[in-house]
Symmetry: none
DNA sequence: GATGAATGAGTGTTCATTCAT
DNA sequence: TATGAATGAACACTCATTCAT
């Protein structure tokens, strides 16, 4: 009955899933999870509502996979930022952060959207906590190498700062003086100015 | 002539409004705006759905009044924090911030909830921007008095930091090392340590 | 306990009822029965919703009394239109009809509103049928005196004509050529022209 | 490739729309627009409330399509009534009018219902006015050919008469002497009797 | 694999009516 | 007599989900 070879089928699956997830991603990032309907996502992806349920068991499952996917994408980026000089590594991190905000504002928007669903979706909480712990440890090591007096406290501050900058970016948008803040951060933390 | 003394009536109104707003506040702070239904709020307040519309013209109006109310409550607090020594003022601000987070976590939760409705509710955007600008100016003046080299950049950082700490508090909750971070912040910015 | 003498009370009752009925009349005539709320009527009358239920047992009862009242008002008007010459009587009737439409369009509007509630409100059906029969008889007598060959048929036509003119007046409003039609009717039926 | 043949799908759609529109038509004609709920219509059509919104964007849209549909049905009937002799044409019109009232009383009921929503629904006003103007012109030409002294006045009268007869039919129903009035009209206007 | 017609529980909102004062 | 806070059933409408094809 099925004329397709399995791999061809799998290809089609991947294609459809990708279209759905891309549509879901941008719509949810823009409108929020509750305000985005399955019908909208299906339409945005150019598939039927029914097909969506072939790949995702529910709207919540779609969100979960969206997050997992986004998290995986950012997984290996840290490795690329590491330089021999920890100060350069930190500078790379700052630069990467602002680049992300400028180029993929939706990504941060979606992460925050999720953060607010924490009480609703346990998996979001777990993921966020795990990410936070990882980043904190990484920063602590880095700042320790740079001989900051309280690397753990300073790392906590930086972790909070990343989220806070993202939030303010979202709110203030075009008027946010991101270049100035980026320079200031690099000067302050990596160039040893203002110390 | 009047069948019920007006002042008594007003009292009843205030009572009901309070019940409704309290229920709405905690439910929306916990679940988010979209995920909280009018039916839930009415039930939580112990009144009928219909009564809610005696006091609020719509669900959005209820949200707006909730925010206005919360904003007004925090309005005059800044004045009380000002001391002769700007370093003490800043310390007061830090202490107040953490006290708020500890005692009224829902308040911050609701403000953030709103921040994410910015594209949906114009009034939220306006309020957020206005608050941000005000705080920024205040901090800049303060840091300027304390002879920070770049008071404006530092003020931007602090403003972002406040939001970021709030977010992380929300996510990490009981495991968030708030006392340590509070001490660290005070030491770093007010006691001149680590400079 | 009651310092008022009964007649004073009765006066107040009449006053309140009149205000309510006037407000109800104009609002229902304008918006229709279903689209007019008790709250609107009470507000328009300057009384509380509760008071309304002191005088009318329900919204339907208010409508009924409104109709009864309107019908009673038009009861004795016919007598004033009768002249010695039946042709003059008929002319008076035509003139009265157009005068009513011009001066009290709401009255006709309300009667029609009611006509459409016939299946909902039995009393409306009964009243309409009774009125129709009365008018028909009156016209038949008149046309018989004027020696019309088929006074009953002609009377039926005229009765229908009155309603039809009212309807078209409502729909076409200012563009309706009422003067021309009035003249035409009088010339045709009372002056013997076009025969 | 398609899981269901498009034409089959279209068939299903037409089927459902027809069921809904038929149920809506008779219910609204009987009870009026406001007094007929979506739930009633859905139940009457044997479908779910939700399905109704697959085909009609709102209750008002359903009403609009109902009217458009009814208007289209009566569109071409006029052409069939025209005969060589204008008197025969007029007779055909009279006969058609009464036939309509007898066989499709709901149709007139719905048109009148709509006429009363004129202030609420602009499309109803436009349609009614357009129909009225068309009919008036048609009748004027006809009566002019029949050498009536004031064809325009007489045409206005007839137009009003049609509405008026419909109204009285609605109210009086089975007791309305429609045969007699029909004969009388034909005799009077087409056979030249009573002139 | 793919469709979209169909469902029904749920949403925010309205409103006639009641009743304590 | 008079008020208006309070109720709850009903309303139009939405949407995640199912399933016959």
């Amino acid at each position: 009955m099925s004329p397709r070879i399995p791999s061809k089928n799998e290809e089609i699956r991947q294609e459809s899933m990708k279209k759905i997830m891309e549509a879901a991603f941008s719509l949810i990032a823009k409108q929020g999870y509750e305000s985005t309907s399955i019908a909208q996502i299906a339409k945005g992806a150019g598939v039927s509502k029914g097909l969506l349920y072939n790949y995702f068991t529910s709207k919540e499952d779609l969100l979960k996979q969206l997050i997992d996917n986004a998290a995986a994408q950012g997984e290996n980026v840290m490795a690329e930022l590491i330089a021999d000089d920890p100060a350069v590594t930190l500078e790379n991190i700052f630069k990467w952060l602002f680049k992300e905000l400028r180029e993929r504002p939706d990504y941060f928007r979606l992460l925050m959207e999720l953060t607010f669903k924490i009480d609703k979706f346990q998996f979001a909480h777990d993921l966020a906590l795990q990410k936070y712990t990882g980043y904190l440890k990484f920063l602590e090591d880095l700042l320790s190498q740079m001989n900051f007096p309280d690397p753990r406290g300073e790392a906590s501050l930086l972790a909070a700062l990343f989220d806070g900058i993202g939030i303010q970016w979202m709110v203030i948008k075009d008027d946010y003086p991101s270049e100035e803040i980026e320079s200031f951060l690099i000067n302050k933390y990596c160039k040893g100015k203002y110390k």
